[in-house]
Symmetry: D2
Subunit: 345 residues, 4 copies
């Protein structure tokens, strides 16, 4: 299939370029960029020297959509939804990496994004592309809302427990840690080297927008309204999300029971790795790959379970999962073009 | 006063050397080191070139105690308690940076440290040197158990809420993040540069020894047995602890009420800084200083409170608080020798 | 003395604030900032919470100069020289951290800075404040051109060899490595965390402006025109400059001869530390201090000498040396307010 | 072909495992490890979970050589040469990543390694596997001495200039910067996180063993004995070598002439990328790939040329070039299994 990437010079965008170039079934037709329009892609990212030296072109999606089968939108929230419409969706598959089509309820969007949803008519057509969970709904769709990085790590970790009603929906606390690349490539004081390195902090305490996305997905899993505490932290590293989740167990479950449940959901999943007892995920072990590593600990003293999950925020949390969605839509093996061994440092 | 430091070539030890050298009322009489016995201190730490070039001597505490008024023990747990005895305490004040005298109950020690407490007879004499909380009990004592780094950050953050019974003792979850220096100077794979940098992980999930120390202190604050979840994480940075704590509020408190409570306990504390609303602690702002920065967020949706606190693990979490304890014992201003402005990078 | 700081919210500026606050003879009267005019200083740098909470005021130097004895200009090149004039210099001492008054020859300025020097009339009044070398000329002056970071490390390392004519002036190559803070606090892509961390590069190859400054100083030392190669590199760390210099020896000197020469010039210098044979400077050992560490190696095979020197770019390379200059001007001990022990991590 | 890896749990070893697993023509038959003998490979490197879970076996090379066509030795110097002999070479191709067979002259080995060469009889059979330079000699050989990381970056950068006699052989100075992974995985103080991060230093000044290797290769290129200054520096990052080389030009060459020479040698090389004028290599742009990026600057003022080259030390500087050598030996496209796009962060 022929592929176009809108917003290719952001961090998720360039990961898409990297993955699509190495994808055996895909061909990269064009890339667009607002910031670097008219410049050679390898001038924006020296890594692509001799590899991908096409110019970044202007984003004229209607015209450009004639040349491709799939368009990835690696654009800021608010922009994606203004680009997509029924006519476009007749021509191409849209895989949107922004937040615009992730929340089903436009009111949630307004509450957390502080503005009216710009394109409510398409919310029903969109499917939330968390591949391991929604694989069946994804097939045949034209508009994929690619999940956020924090929601991917958090939801994959908690899903089996909620689906099987092992934990109290109202007790969930997610304390997440992210590398800096999640904040994008636009220079700002908050991501200036000397303001970030050798420090850590919580941010958006109580108000991070991914809270709504996670709650919606956890709600589907549990058939119950979830209210969670979600606190993201910034870690002085490039890539990786580590989500540490806490929840009250509904009963006195032992290790084997819980392990069995995780196996039930994930033993056959290529991209979910359940670690051995007492081995906990580290972001380095998934770096550069589409894996989500998961493990848990039952704390008998408090009858809580602690679930730790790790992803590469730019891959399983963005570009990789987007490609995985494309593979599902085209009935390819899900790991086509995604079987890179993690590069741990 | 004359001061000796046992274990001066560990990271906490060298911070003690740095602080004592700059302390206007203290004189550094000797430093000992097992690893670098007989070597010049500035050969172990080039920073001390031209500043402190004495030899590290052998640890013969009985003899050495004749020359000093205060001995800091920057030694591994298990060793400190074997060095201290009644005769020694008659001669000198001991400020112990290890965990040996922190837990009042020897059974707790056995449970969490996996061995019998080596010196139970002195447990009663020791006072837990969390200065802001135990100032009055510290005065006049001869044996100070200097608090652990995680317990310092965690307890200072939660103390006012527990003392005033604003939160549910059974609901407390502490998710903590530490720089690598907390693991000490002995080379091991887990702290090898290439195994640590550009990654983050949880460790000792459910079994970290500081859990017992925190629970004991929270118990004193609340007059109630506390069972908590405590999960430490390793962050690729030198210094700093950030503790993010979560607890259920006992009632529907508003911001001003909680802020008032924190002010009641800390407004006059030199080393606790309560940040402005919506400004959260970052480890860089306390780096190189004895400060503990604290702030909180009330989450109305879940009626939980999130408390974030930050310290420099080697200073307020070790050497700085040890000096603060010495200042208390000698009726000096608590910030004598400790008024360094944080060096944020 | 009373001190004002223009441009206090840049990295060098905030180091000045930190040092002046801790200086026993200085009082900080005001700080100005273009970017943060009207904001509390501790809102720009959380490290100063409870320590220095004054507002950043507008830079109106004529008016402000009435209140102070010394003004530090931590301003970009081009701006400093437009602020200084004879009237001002009658009222206050100016210590300028910018490059404006460093080059004696306005033509050099034009060649390397690409524009006409904005204030040639004052070039004669300015003295180059490399304290260890120009101490005597500094005394009694009113306008100090505080040296650049690279020139400080480079010149201190090479000065004795040139003064004693031990090396070939035409053979000097300086390969320097700098932490990111040298690039300042304004966010830009080149200092964005994800573009800097985990990488190294040369920059301004053959055209860096400090080349002219170094050549001028080396020329004074050798009484000969120097042409050097100077290549700066960016290192993923906050602070520190390491300069590795190479030069052809004029004769077959042995270690002791060279060591003797270094001792002749620096043995009594508080802020220059000559390391033991085969121990080479590391930026961490001078971090947070005003020291310059130096050592050398004679390579018999090529009859070249390699000189390695290290400073903290924000201290000896900027704010610290500025304070040292102030101390000289006021006949204080040069280390007044500058005797911090390096904080190695 | 079937492949075995001796010393697979070192950093170069695990990169070999990663590359061989993804190589379309190679099959990994076994891996050995002294440190982790009997353990599952993915327990040593969590990145390989679900990907390569074989046990590390004992190194019994004679026996193991029956099962494979190629053996990679990712072993410390001294060990490799003791393992290889004529009988073994009859059975398998040996690609040795250690330094044992790199120097043709056993006296050089003795001088720089401080001991007698352990296996001089095979020195003649070995070919120095710098692929772009020695491609023709490599073909048909059985014993490849895979080049060191510093020599690869240095020699590729200087080779065309020496071959064409554009620079003075006696004037060469190489100032190199390396990530920490070059020091291997064995924990030691010098590579402990807190001793390395946020600092830089020169090491092995004047005595680094790669000096001999570089000089030998530069000598072949120039048909002249080369004496160079080579100074390695440690940079707080995982991967990457940046070599900044300086040399006197033999004449007054202009940019186009030199550029033409570089093009003559490298324009058709897949793994050498000549950058555009005034764009200099950064280690991040080659990270995770087998590329060597090169550029140069002519400094008219000194008539010197500055050459900057960058590689990933674990790939083009070790495992990647080893695979490239294997590809040459098997008449495969040189980039078979090596066409990963660099992962810039």
């Amino acid at each position: 299939m022929k592929v176009g990437i809108v917003g290719a010079t952001g961090y998720a965008g360039q990961e898409l370029v990297r993955l699509i170039i190495q994808h055996p079934q895909a061909e990269l037709a064009w890339v667009t960029s607002n910031t670097y329009k008219g410049e050679r892609f390898d001038k924006c990212y020296g890594s692509f020297k001799n590899i991908y030296e096409e110019n970044c072109i202007e984003q004229k999606i209607d015209e450009l959509s004639n040349d491709v089968d799939v368009i990835f939108l690696a654009t800021p929230h608010g922009l994606s939804s203004s680009l997509v419409n029924d006519v476009l969706l007749k021509k191409v598959i849209i895989i949107d990496l922004s937040a615009d089509f992730r929340l089903k309820d436009a009111l949630d969007y307004k509450e957390w994004y502080g503005e009216n949803h710009p394109n409510t008519s398409l919310l029903k057509e969109a499917v939330y592309g968390l591949c391991e969970i929604n694989r069946d709904q994804i097939k045949g769709k034209r508009l994929i809302a690619n999940p956020g990085c924090y929601p991917t790590a958090s939801t994959l970790g908690l899903y089996p427990l909620l689906k099987e009603k092992l934990i109290d929906t109202k007790s969930i606390i997610i304390d997440a840690k992210s590398g800096v690349s999640g904040a994008g490539r636009s220079p700002k004081l908050a991501t200036h080297f000397d303001e970030v390195n050798e420090s850590t902090k919580a941010y958006s305490v109580g108000v991070h927008r991914h809270t709504a996305e996670i709650e919606e997905q956890l709600g589907y899993a549990s058939n119950d309204k979830a209210f969670i505490n979600f606190t993201p932290h910034l870690i002085p590293m490039h890539r990786g999300i580590l989500a540490t989740a806490y929840a009250n167990l509904n009963d006195n479950y032992d290790y084997d029971t819980i392990k069995g449940i995780y196996n039930k959901y994930y033993a056959n999943e290529k991209f979910v790795r359940l670690l051995d007892e007492n081995v906990y995920p580290e972001t380095r072990w998934v770096k550069g790959s589409n894996y989500c590593d998961i493990n848990f600990k039952i704390d008998k003293r408090t009858n809580r379970i602690i679930i730790v999950s790790a992803i590469d925020n730019l891959i399983k949390g963005a570009a990789g999962q987007a490609v995985q969605n494309m593979n599902i839509l085209y009935n390819l093996d899900e790991d086509t073009g995604l079987n890179q061994v993690p590069v741990f440092m």
